[in-house]
């Protein structure tokens, strides 16, 4: 297997991790909104920010794969 192939697998693994993370954030945010619809706006804001943090880790993986 070439180094590019390994890099592609690494990028895929990073995507799996980010998918799990964002999925959990989304699920919990939906739960919280269903329980307390009155603070929906606040939950949405923090969910977006947290998703950005999780996504950044996956993007580090993608950039590393691109550089290789």
């Amino acid at each position: 297997m070439t180094i590019t192939g390994i890099a592609a697998i690494g990028a895929g693994l990073a995507a799996i991790g980010a998918g799990m993370g964002i999925g959990r954030i989304g699920g919990s945010a939906m739960d919280a909104m269903a329980r307390q619809p009155e603070i929906q706006g606040k939950i949405q804001t923090s969910a977006l920010i947290l998703a950005a943090f999780v996504e950044a880790v996956a993007l580090f993986g993608v950039v590393a794969a691109l550089i290789v």
Binding site: T45, L48, I49, A52, E55, A56, L59, F60, V62, V63
Partner: protein, 361 residues
């Protein structure tokens, strides 16, 4: 969503998707003898360039020539990029002031005497040419100036509305801009920085928000989509450095104390935490930089890759699938460009808020 907004969003996305297809097919036509290389086409599209290539018409490229400004050993040399005659393989030599230049893969090399073409050694350093400092007005710089002019026009006319009206009721363009500006104030600046200190940082946050958003939107417009301004790492680096400087120059005693001598923990822990906090100080702007760069570049790459599928499979039967998918991705991108501008601004505000926070005890 009203029917009208839906219509306009739908048709702009349709227009976008079809134009991407048009671009790809022109590329293919031009390189009929060569095998279609999706990676090359996409990378050419995503990268910065010295001329503004719009499309190929009957095999002839139509493009806007941009000025090339070089700083060589003999001083400043300027000429228009049209003098290269769309050559990017380093074979067309331009002579200016006794110096000879070639363009190879969007980099400009100054040939030594007697050299006819640029040659490279194993580590890709040129052996018979040197690289002059390049201050050219490239495609990205050009597009950035366009968005600066648009922002100036929009905001100056908005300000004029408030100056003229005695009632302070927004009319015309101000009616469109006011909700956006109030959104940045009430949803970003106030909750992240605090009600007392947010005013000082509003100009910075508004500038960052609208500048990134507008550049992201320009990246989605088909004719100018070659200019991938906010998907350029130098552009996002500059914005992240601004956030870094604003954060650290507005940092109070409390902020620096938390970095160098964390209060409320034992002394060995204080020593252990100091390097982590110092690294964290730099990781924050770096993650801002990578996030914006990677998100916008990934969007461009996905749409172009879907369109390349037609040419990879060499059949038109794939085109409904790739058009439908790139339409879908294009619609998502309209949301993503706004969210990325929002995220960058929110996180900048969050970091500034952390730096200006007062001690709790």
């Amino acid at each position: 969503m009203t029917l009208n907004t839906f219509k306009s969003v739908f048709f702009s996305a349709l227009f976008m998707a079809t134009s991407f297809g048009g671009y790809a097919s022109e590329n293919q036509e031009n390189e009929n003898d060569k095998e279609f290389n999706a990676k090359e086409m996409i990378m050419h599209h995503v990268k910065d360039a010295h001329e503004f290539h719009i499309l190929d018409w009957n095999g002839k490229p139509i493009s806007i020539a941009l000025p090339i400004i070089l700083w060589t050993d003999q001083g400043l040399v300027t000429f228009m990029s049209s003098e290269f005659h769309h050559d990017d393989s380093g074979s067309h030599i331009v002579e200016k002031d006794g110096l000879r230049f070639v363009k190879y893969h969007e980099k400009i090399y100054q040939l030594d005497a007697n050299a006819q073409a640029v040659a490279f050694d194993a580590e890709h350093h040129p052996t018979n040419a040197s690289k002059p400092a390049d201050f050219s007005i490239t495609k990205n710089v050009f597009m950035m100036w366009v968005s600066v002019i648009v922002l100036l026009l929009v905001f100056i006319s908005t300000a004029r509305v408030y100056k003229k009206s005695s009632t302070k009721i927004p009319t015309g363009i101000a009616g469109f801009m006011e909700p956006l500006i109030v959104f940045v104030r009430d949803e970003i600046a106030k909750p992240m920085i605090g009600d007392h200190k947010y005013k000082k940082y509003m100009p910075y946050l508004l500038t960052v928000f609208f500048f990134i958003w507008l550049n992201n939107i320009f990246g989605l417009i088909p004719i100018v989509n070659g200019a991938n301004v906010s998907g350029n790492i130098a552009f996002t680096l500059t914005l992240a450095v601004f956030t870094f400087l604003v954060t650290n120059f507005s940092g109070n005693k409390n902020y620096w104390k938390h970095i160098f001598w964390m209060p409320g923990v034992p002394v060995p822990m204080k020593i252990f935490l100091m390097p982590i906090e110092i690294v964290g100080m730099f990781v924050k702007p770096i993650s801002l930089m990578i996030r914006l760069f990677a998100n916008i570049t990934a969007g461009h790459i996905i749409i172009l890759a879907l369109m390349s599928l037609i040419f990879i499979f060499e059949t038109t039967w794939v085109s409904p699938v790739s058009v439908a998918f790139s339409l879908f991705i294009g619609l998502i991108e309209i949301v993503v460009v706004a969210i990325q501008a929002y995220i960058f601004t929110v996180l900048s505000a969050l970091y500034i808020g952390m730096a200006t926070e007062e001690a709790h005890h």
